[in-house]
Point group: C2
Chain length 455, copies 2
């Protein structure tokens, strides 16, 4: 067999033409979203004031296995996809491991992450519906940047509510969004009723993701021609992100490679759900077996220490309830610069699969994550996002186990993005000022006590 | 013929195995470097205390057409190369032009630019010579980042003198370099005699590139096992950067495409010289004709308003003299955020070619450059570095001429890097606070008066 190249690129003709809906192969489907008022499953009509119509269909459809990717989206994908599947030859050599390590690198676009895969899809359906614009929230800024790029491409207005502390600490992220024509408002703001109330009750607050979601939803539902869009957790997002896994599998198949372990970092689940989709599909259908590993921060351990229960998706408790692994919607993670992995809950699809034993989950400490990030950067060149580095840490650990046992396992992990906008966290790490906060059992119990009573 | 894909990638087997030395095909060779003390041409022995031995050979060799790329460097190249040659379908559609626009995108690596192509080569030869480390200066930070990555890969120590104002204004750049293990010192510093002198004479100075060069050279020549390396201007750098043009030409040849115009931004000439190398080679050998266009900032117009004369390469006047288009080594460009294009001189190779009529040069205003950058970002997705955006501006202008005339010209330009660390400049542009300073004739005449008298 010919030597595996450093980077496996698909040709345009080999790129996926349909997204894969993992739910179609699940024996136990993810539990339905519940109306926060009635606690009844939400039909499409309940969701229509908030979300775009076609996205609601994708959200609720547990049966259709493939959704065709519209040509307009495929054209956009061609500007930054296929992303490379990289053979980590240099890392393998550095570790001295017999393991074969691959990573799917999603950072080669201006948003710096995989978020663009779903942003362009959501913007497309909003445009197709004849909407004027969309609203969203952003914390670390990757999702807001991705959505700004997507809206700019389709000529949609884009209103981003950015958590105030990030707005102030990450002015560069804000300027990138402005470059793409988005309006960026620090949250809480005086532009919404909920923002005004929060500012009145908590003067001087630096905001939270939950508050920003509430503001974005309020503007979407009260402004004609606008809808709200979200970058993770939702079923539709996992559907769009399946392009990551489909490309990964196609690239591996091209060289006859079958992975033993597939590893992804897990915050709300957008990357993990996309990366593992086709592998999990084969596993669900009994066609193949893989170890599938979710990696989460020890500071926000939804899978490994959370409860599988119905909970609110936002801290403001205005959004639908989802059944998922959750730390409680009141859970506030410790200051943790892996911004994308701070969500209290987890995708309902992934939660169900984990509950049913189809995947594993581990948690890792932040300083170990940054040490792995730096080790990776120095041999593989790419400066990883802190989120992505959780998967790096787990992959290195698995590779070192192979070194002990002599096993030549094939490890595939998702490198979701780049860390250019996370240098404050790297600086703390270099200066020895980063800590490893882990919530106590008592803290988690207190948070679980606020879970809504739903059967 | 099959449709040209959005991105043309070469296979690893199609990647260049040798760098192309444009000087071998020049009828009039670039003038030799002169010893600043004797004003005599510098033999290798004069350069040995400053530069690595094998790089000196490359610097002085005007005859060898191809230099084999060592396998260790080719392996590193494979981690981030080949870079894509992108067909700008979306930009073409937006402009409504019949022109066909391609760009070679060098920003898909952590240094964010093409600088890594030469950094890895220079680090390799330093390592091969058994050196302990290298020193360099950096302004905007792209070169320093690239060199840090390269040194980290080969286990070399890397000392970067960073212009103090950049060190303070771009802490993220500094942290990226630290992540790769480099030491970063704000210049002027107390670590060198020249730094001490400057701080004594000009307390409170925020530094300059010229001062940082002087400090880096002093440390390299006074520390056993160290040499100095430079990211532009030098012949050796253009040699390494020829990989850009060789890949571009191979990708075009694969689809039978012959460009009419090749456009590159020009600061010291590292990108431009690399991009145009094989095209210029054909032109010099009379095998083909191309319009070759250098684009420089109106605020620092070496080609379009400079003199072709011997001048110092640094403001400290300790480095060799080069014959080049120059604004005078005392020329201080206006505050201009296109950091990489602020150099007072120009590659001697490119200067000779321009002098001999083989290429054109134009200058463009900064606000026009940022307007083009934003227009490009919104349709092509990539957020360009301000340097790169000079080429974008010129390419768009050429494409709009084609729209008027109906000509279906093929335009190729170099997109050297990304603008993630330049958001302060973008912010000024968005806020209408960016100006278009252009030096007056009187200012240039005053600067020319300081040119050394050499015949």
């Amino acid at each position: 067999m010919s030597k595996i190249p450093y980077k496996i690129y698909l040709n345009e003709s080999e790129m996926p033409t349909a997204w894969y809906n993992l739910r179609a192969d699940m024996k136990t489907k993810p539990a339905p979203l519940l109306n926060p008022g009635t606690l009844e499953p939400m039909p499409a009509s309940d969701l229509a004031p908030v979300f775009c119509d076609e996205l609601i269909q994708q959200e609720l459809d547990n049966d259709t296995r493939f959704f065709e990717i519209p040509p307009e989206i495929r054209d956009f994908y061609k500007m930054y996809r296929p992303s490379p599947l990289v053979r980590a030859y240099c890392l393998e050599e550095k570790l001295g491991t017999p393991a074969k390590i691959y990573y799917k690198f999603e950072g080669n676009n201006t948003s710096g992450s995989h978020k663009l895969n779903s942003a362009i899809a959501q913007a497309y359906y909003a445009k197709k519906q004849g909407l004027k614009g969309v609203t969203t929230e952003t914390g670390a800024g990757q999702w807001g940047t991705a959505l700004s790029m997507a809206c700019s491409y389709f000529g949609l207005d884009c209103k981003v509510f950015m958590v105030k502390v990030s707005y102030e600490q990450k002015p560069f992220r804000r300027e990138v969004m402005r470059t793409y024509g988005a309006s960026v408002t620090p949250s809480p703001s005086m532009e919404t009723k909920i923002g005004q109330k929060i500012l009145h009750d908590h003067p001087g607050t630096t905001g939270s993701l939950g508050c920003a979601i509430s503001e974005a939803v309020e503007v979407a539902t009260s402004t004609p021609g606008y809808r709200y869009v979200l970058g993770s957790v939702l079923n539709q997002v996992l559907l769009h992100q399946s392009v990551i896994g489909l490309e990964t599998k196609a690239a591996l198949d091209k060289y006859g490679i079958k992975p033993d372990i597939v590893i992804g970092c897990a915050g709300g689940g957008s990357n993990l759900g996309g990366l593992i989709a086709p592998f999990m599909g084969e596993k669900l259908r009994g066609e193949a077996d893989y170890r599938i590993v979710a990696v989460e921060p020890a500071s926000c351990p939804s899978f490994t220490r959370g409860k599988f229960a119905y909970d609110f998706c936002d801290t403001g408790m205005v959004c639908p309830l989802a059944k998922m692994y959750t730390l409680g919607s009141n859970f506030i993670p410790a200051p943790n610069h892996a911004g994308g992995l701070r969500y209290h809950g987890m995708s309902p699809v992934l939660s169900q699969l984990y509950h049913d034993g189809y995947m594993e989950a581990i948690s890792v400490k932040q300083t170990d994550v940054f040490a792995a990030a730096e080790q990776f950067a120095r041999v593989e060149g790419i400066l990883p996002a802190p989120e992505s580095a959780h998967a790096i840490k787990a992959a290195i650990d698995e590779a070192m186990k192979c070194k002990e046992t002599g096993e030549e396992k094939t490890i595939v992990f998702g490198l979701t993005g780049t860390g250019y906008f996370d240098m404050v966290a790297y600086e703390k790490f270099h200066d020895g000022k980063m800590d490893d906060y882990i919530p106590t059992d008592a803290e988690l119990e207190a948070s679980f006590a606020t879970l809504p009573k739903v059967e």
